[in-house]
Structures are given as structure tokens and as C-alpha cells.
């Protein structure tokens, strides 16, 4: 009887032992990101290639990857996971500035400064990107995808209605009148759902008249929101609404509907950013699609808004901090730039200027990225990705009130100041600290 059982017993023991050995060797890195193959941040094809290589080059490492919708879906998921103690090792999401500080202060994020020094990240990233992702002198995220906002326009329709690219504010308004007279929506637009679209647009318009330094002063609580340049920007935005520059009823239109209106040729243009380059190139005839940045207006420098679209973070409670940092370093190495840009149409944040002639992405992709980078030093940090979470809510709903006429500029801006003061009282402020001292 015992002999009959001996072989099964020994086999079971051997399998258990080998499984245990395998488990001991296998390291699983849990990763959440937004790199889908469609929609926003659709750099999925590039990311999948890169992480496949990471697994090939790192035996014994498995990636347990979950992909979320870009924008608020991943941010909400990460919020819940962090506060319930169930966050992944690495996550790719988007609050920076004061938004990042809310997590860093509570100890949810791993200090990446030692890894940044080890892997040379401070030499790879421009100062503006480090500052957005540093808090009290420490780096807490590796910013990756650069967001730029500009106008995608339909060349065929522009030619049809005899429209040239506007070179000043008055020509922007004339373009709107011309498009309407020809039966087109001038700029397909939306602000339903969360309301971040208007938050981006007001940042753009403010950038056009207020400039980078004032933007920094407001976002870092050295200046109030209620200031003459914000008033001017709000008035300009309302002037565009009065000129019917945007989709009718845009406060009830969602982002997907905005894009659909442009893709189907019912609008001459749409004002949005690099995060839908992939979708836009895939949805339109290459001969019809082009981009331009809004011009310099009213005697000011040409400007727009920018930010990192999202950044890589490491959970402070991760059991694999070194592996997590190694993974981030791997996917952001310069050798993968071509893959990110050509396969993912993803504008990566780099300190050094890129030689755009080396990339094979469609011309409109290269143009969107290269033209924007040329004046990024004059750009303003995107309001909604930089301010504290409670300020974001005031920004979203307040902008809708201003655009609908139910809220005055003063009511909105005073509410922004109150929300910022509340955030400051909780310590949720954009405070990069002296990160340069820690970088050396």
C-alpha cells in the first residue's frame, strides 16, 4: 500500500518544491496605465512593444498590467487604490503640482530622488517637468507624455471657404464668422462630463495674454486668481462664445461628440491636444488634416498651455521599489524614443532637443510636436492638472457658469481664490522646493 502511494507522494512533493522555487524567483510587478490602443493617450502599440522587450531582458519578472481609460478613470481608480492600501507598484496617472502634493504629503508616493540620481533622470528631464513633479525638494513622479494644445483643422474645408490660418485675435473671430456663414461649426467643442475642456481653453487664452510667469505665480499661490489678466482671458473666451465660434450647446456636448463633429467634416477645426493625435490621424484623411497653434494676440508672445500628460509613480508601499524604478527607467530610455513617437505618436518629455528628421511619424504628428516645443518656454502650466483637487472642481463648474452667463467673472475668480486658500490650509500646494540641491 505504502509503495503504491510512494510515487504520487514523491511527485507531489517535487512539484510543490519546484513551484515554490519558481514563486521565490518570480517577481510580479503590478502596473496600471492608460496606454490604450484608441481614445486618449493611445500609445498602446508603442508601450506593448517596449514592455515585451522589458520582459525578455528581465527573466523572472512578470508584469500584471491593467489598462484604464485616460483622464479621470485612471485618476479615480488610483485615488481609491492608494487610500485603501491596494495600489499597484507602478501607476501612470496625471495629477502634478498641487495635485501631486496631496499624495506625497500623506506618504503614498515613493521618493524617486535616489533613483533619479542613479539613472540620470535629472539630466533627461527639463526643469519645468521636474518642478511639476517635485514636492519639497524631492521628485515623486517621472513625467512622460507631454501635452500640448493647438488647433486641428480641415485643410479642405479651409480652402473651400477661403479661410486662412488666423494671425491675430480679430482674424480668429473673423474665421468664426466665415465658417458660420458657410454652414460649418468653426471649432467643434465640448464641455460636458467633467468639464476639463474649458479649463484647458481658459489656460490657453490666459497664456495668450497673461504669460508664463503670471501663470506660475497664480498656480504657486503668489498671485490671486482674481486679477486683470484672468478677467481679460475670461472676456476673450466669452467673446468667442458670442461669435458662435464653438459647437452649439457645447456645455451639453461630450468630448467624443466634439471629435466626431470634426472627424465627419461638420466643423472646420477642433481645439484640443496631443492626447488625441493617434485617434485624429486614424480618423481623418491625411490630405485634409493639419494643425496650427493659436497666434500671438494683442501684442503678446505666442503661447498656449502645456503639461506632462501623465507621469509614472511608484507606490510607497511597494515590495519591489528597485524593480519598479528599473522598469520606469527602462521604458523611458532614449533608445525607445523612436518607438514612442513613431508607433505611439506620443510626445515624450526630453531635456534635449529632438532631431525630428529622424522620426517616421506622419508629418502632422511631427509638426504638432516640433512647433509646440519651439515655444514651450513661454507656455503656461495647464490649470487643471496643476491645482489641488478641490480647486479643480471649482474650476470645472465655475467655468461652465461663466460661459453660460450664470456666473460673473468675479464670482468665479473669488471662488477659485477661496478654494486655493482652502487647499493651502491643508498643505495641498505646488511646492517643488529646492530639488536642484537634492539632485546633486
Amino acid at each position: 500500500m505504502i509503495k503504491k502511494l510512494l510515487i504520487p507522494i514523491i511527485s507531489t512533493l517535487m512539484i510543490s518544491f519546484s513551484t515554490t522555487s519558481m514563486s521565490a524567483d518570480l517577481r510580479i510587478l503590478k502596473l496600471w496605465d492608460q496606454f490604450e490602443n484608441f481614445g486618449m493617450s493611445a500609445a498602446g502599440p508603442a508601450f506593448e512593444k517596449i514592455i515585451a522587450e522589458f520582459k525578455n531582458e528581465n527573466e523572472g519578472v512578470e508584469l500584471a498590467r491593467s489598462v484604464f481609460g485616460g483622464g479621470w478613470p485612471i485618476r479615480n481608480a488610483v485615488e481609491l487604490a492608494l487610500t485603501s492600501g491596494d495600489a499597484p507598484d507602478v501607476f501612470y496617472t496625471w495629477p502634478s503640482g498641487a495635485g501631486l502634493s496631496a499624495y506625497a504629503k500623506e506618504g503614498y508616493l515613493l521618493d524617486l530622488t535616489p533613483y533619479a540620481k542613479k539613472y540620470g533622470w535629472f539630466d533627461r528631464l527639463p526643469d519645468w517637468a521636474i518642478e511639476r513633479n517635485a514636492f519639497e525638494g524631492k521628485l515623486y513622479a517621472y513625467p512622460w507624455e507631454q501635452d500640448l494644445e493647438y488647433v486641428y483643422y480641415n485643410k479642405r474645408i479651409f480652402e473651400e471657404i477661403g479661410q486662412k490660418i488666423p494671425t491675430n485675435w480679430e482674424e480668429i473671430l473673423d474665421w468664426c464668422d466665415n465658417a458660420r456663414a458657410n454652414g460649418y461649426t468653426p471649432i467643434s467643442y465640448s464641455d460636458a462630463g467633467a468639464g476639463w475642456q474649458a479649463a484647458n481653453t481658459i489656460t490657453d487664452i490666459f497664456a495668450m495674454v497673461g504669460g508664463r510667469q503670471l501663470g506660475l505665480d497664480i498656480l504657486q499661490n503668489r498671485e490671486k486668481w482674481n486679477n486683470p489678466k484672468m478677467h481679460e482671458a475670461l472676456d476673450m473666451f466669452k467673446e468667442m462664445v458670442d461669435h458662435k465660434c464653438f459647437t452649439d450647446g457645447f456645455l451639453g456636448i461630450e468630448y467624443g461628440e466634439q471629435l466626431a463633429e470634426f472627424y465627419t467634416g461638420d466643423a472646420t477645426a477642433t481645439w484640443t491636444g496631443t492626447w488625441v493625435l493617434q485617434s485624429t490621424v486614424a480618423s481623418m484623411d491625411a490630405a485634409d488634416l493639419d494643425i496650427f497653434y493659436m497666434p500671438a494676440v494683442k501684442g503678446n508672445k505666442q503661447s498656449s498651455h502645456f503639461s506632462e500628460g501623465s507621469a509614472f509613480y511608484i507606490n510607497a508601499d511597494t515590495k519591489h521599489p528597485d524593480l519598479a524604478a528599473q522598469f520606469i527607467d527602462y521604458v523611458t530610455q532614449p533608445r525607445w524614443l523612436q518607438t514612442w513617437i513613431d508607433d505611439g505618436y506620443c510626445l515624450v518629455i526630453q531635456r534635449d532637443e529632438l532631431d525630428w528628421s529622424k522620426f517616421n511619424a506622419p508629418p502632422v504628428v511631427v509638426k504638432a510636436m516640433s512647433e509646440g516645443i519651439a515655444f514651450q518656454n513661454d507656455m503656461v502650466d495647464a490649470f487643471h492638472t496643476t491645482v489641488a483637487p478641490n480647486v479643480v472642481q471649482t474650476l470645472y463648474s465655475g467655468m461652465q457658469g461663466v460661459l453660460s452667463g450664470s456666473t460673473s467673472n468675479d464670482e468665479f475668480l473669488d471662488a477659485m481664490d477661496a478654494a486655493s486658500a482652502e487647499a493651502a490650509a491643508l498643505g495641498n500646494v505646488w511646492n517643488p522646493g529646492d530639488w536642484k540641491a537634492n539632485a546633486n
Binding site: T83, E106, L251, P389, S397, S406
Partner: protein, 289 residues
């Protein structure tokens, strides 16, 4: 205690366990959370603050506005789908194929509210939507509106989505209620010369009070808890004109990390639902007596 009574408790035990885990514990834990706060949002170091969260709530304009929207939703949901359900049920009651038609009316109720919201968003689209295009085709273009983009009408527009989903359920419930009415009462009234409308208001409606009470309470509870339809349809926009307490709680937790304050609102919401339900039941029971 007789054996029969003891056995009854044994049979109740699993349900009690279930209710304790999924209802009583969360309820009381939530109430306890509402008495706590943290130095910063997202901190897990809570400390006792008594009624501070409640006094913050009193000054919170966003909460009061959201609550008002919930109450408006309750009123609209009582008057529209319930009344439509009642009228349709009364029309169907004497038809042989009443169950067939009732099933047709019930179909919208089988759709997930998310699907309902997505489809209705396109119906309401100011340019491509069925409503505005139909108005244009009928020469009534001046009546076109930005149904979901206009602060003054967006809440009613979204409520119509919910009413469309809900009225079929009301038809079924009223039909069931109508079948409990003794048909000889109607026959007697007919003989006495009462017309159909008289019989409907003097006999049918009074005898449907309990059915109505059930649906009113059900509507109140559902309306105060509403979330998914509005989240997908408008997410509280434009300018929080379609914001409701459920959405506000969601934003407080998911986007601002203010768990204890969200718990406070949940407690108030629960008490509000209980109070409204109690008021309705008590009044209708008094009338029954």
C-alpha cells in the same frame, strides 16, 4: 418560547447575518465615520471631531443645491412615470392582450441605465439629435434647445431619461394593483350610472392607494440614491445644474479624498429618505384607517 418560534429564528438567522454585514454594519460605521476627520484629505489618521462635519454641511452650498435637485427629481419622478403608468394600466386593464402591451412598455426598464443615458444623449444632441431634427423637419425649429447644455432645463431633460426607463415598471405594478380591485364595485357603479372617468377617480384610484404608496416610497428611495444615469448623461454639468447628492459624494471620495465628510452626507441622505418614506406611509395609512 415554542419550538415553532425557535425554528422561525433559525430560519431568520442567515438573513440577519446578511443584513448585519451589508446593511447594519456599513450604516453604523458610516455614522461613526461622520464624527471623524483627518488633518488632510487622504490621511488615514482620523480623530474625533463630533458634529464639526455636520456644521460644515450646513454651510455647504453645493450640498444644498444637490439635495434640491434630488427633491426635484423625486417630485418629477412621482408625477411623470407614476401618472403615465397609472393611465396606461387603466387603459390596458380591460384589454385581452394587456400582458403583451405591458411587456412592451416594460422593455425600457430592462435596459441598463448607462445604455439609456448614452442613447438619450444622442437623442438630445443639439445638432444630430432626433428631437431637434424632428422639430426642424416640422417647421418648429424655434423650439430647438440645448437640452443637456442649458442649465435651466438640463435636470428635467435628464429626468425624462429616467422617467422613460421607469414608467413601464409602474404600469406593471398598477396592473397588479388593479387586479386586486373587486370588479363588482365597478359593475355596481356602472349600474348606478357612473361614467368611466367617474368610476376611475371615485373607485379605482382610491382603491389603488396602497399600490401608489408602494410606488411613491420606491420612487423616493430610488430618486435619492440615483447615480449611474446622471453620471453618464451629464456628470452633474452644466455648472452643477444636474448635480445630485450621490454624485457629490462620489466626487468627495474619488476626487478629493474626503471620506469622512462624504460619510456625513450619506448619513443625512439616509435620514432624509427614512423621514420622507415614513411621512408618506404614515399619511396613507391614516387615510386607509
Amino acid at each position: 418560547m415554542t419550538n415553532l418560534n425557535k425554528n422561525a429564528y433559525y430560519f431568520l438567522f442567515p438573513a440577519l447575518i446578511y443584513l448585519t454585514i451589508w446593511l447594519f454594519y456599513p450604516l453604523f460605521n458610516n455614522a461613526y465615520l461622520s464624527l471623524l476627520d483627518a488633518e488632510t484629505a487622504r490621511s488615514r489618521d482620523y480623530f474625533f471631531v463630533g458634529l464639526d462635519n455636520y456644521s460644515e454641511l450646513i454651510r455647504d452650498q453645493i450640498f444644498w443645491r444637490a439635495l434640491l435637485h434630488n427633491i426635484i427629481w423625486v417630485v418629477l419622478s412621482i408625477f411623470i412615470p407614476l401618472l403615465i403608468g397609472l393611465i396606461l394600466a387603466a387603459m390596458l386593464y380591460n384589454m385581452r392582450s394587456r400582458l403583451f402591451y405591458a411587456s412592451i412598455f416594460f422593455i425600457p426598464h430592462t435596459f441598463a441605465l448607462i445604455i439609456t443615458a448614452i442613447v438619450w444623449r444622442w437623442i438630445y444632441h443639439p445638432k444630430y439629435g432626433l428631437i431637434n431634427q424632428t422639430l426642424d423637419n416640422l417647421g418648429l425649429g424655434s423650439f430647438k434647445m440645448h437640452w443637456l447644455g442649458n442649465e435651466n432645463i438640463a435636470l428635467v431633460a435628464v429626468n425624462m431619461m429616467g422617467s422613460w426607463s421607469y414608467y413601464g415598471f409602474c404600469v406593471l405594478i398598477f396592473l397588479a394593483g388593479l387586479q386586486n380591485i373587486d370588479p363588482t364595485l365597478n359593475d355596481a357603479a356602472k349600474i348606478d350610472g357612473a361614467g368611466p372617468i367617474q368610476r376611475f377617480f371615485k373607485i379605482t384610484v382610491p382603491l389603488l392607494k396602497n399600490t401608489f404608496m408602494f410606488l411613491v416610497v420606491w420612487t423616493i428611495i430610488g430618486s435619492m440614491r440615483f447615480f449611474d444615469l446622471i453620471f453618464v448623461a451629464t456628470n452633474g454639468t452644466p455648472n452643477l445644474s444636474t448635480d445630485i447628492t450621490g454624485l457629490y459624494i462620489y466626487r468627495l471620495i474619488m476626487q478629493q479624498g474626503r471620506v469622512t465628510y462624504a460619510g456625513t452626507i450619506s448619513v443625512i441622505l439616509t435620514l432624509f429618505i427614512l423621514a420622507m418614506s415614513f411621512f408618506v406611509i404614515k399619511n396613507l395609512m391614516r387615510e386607509n384607517e
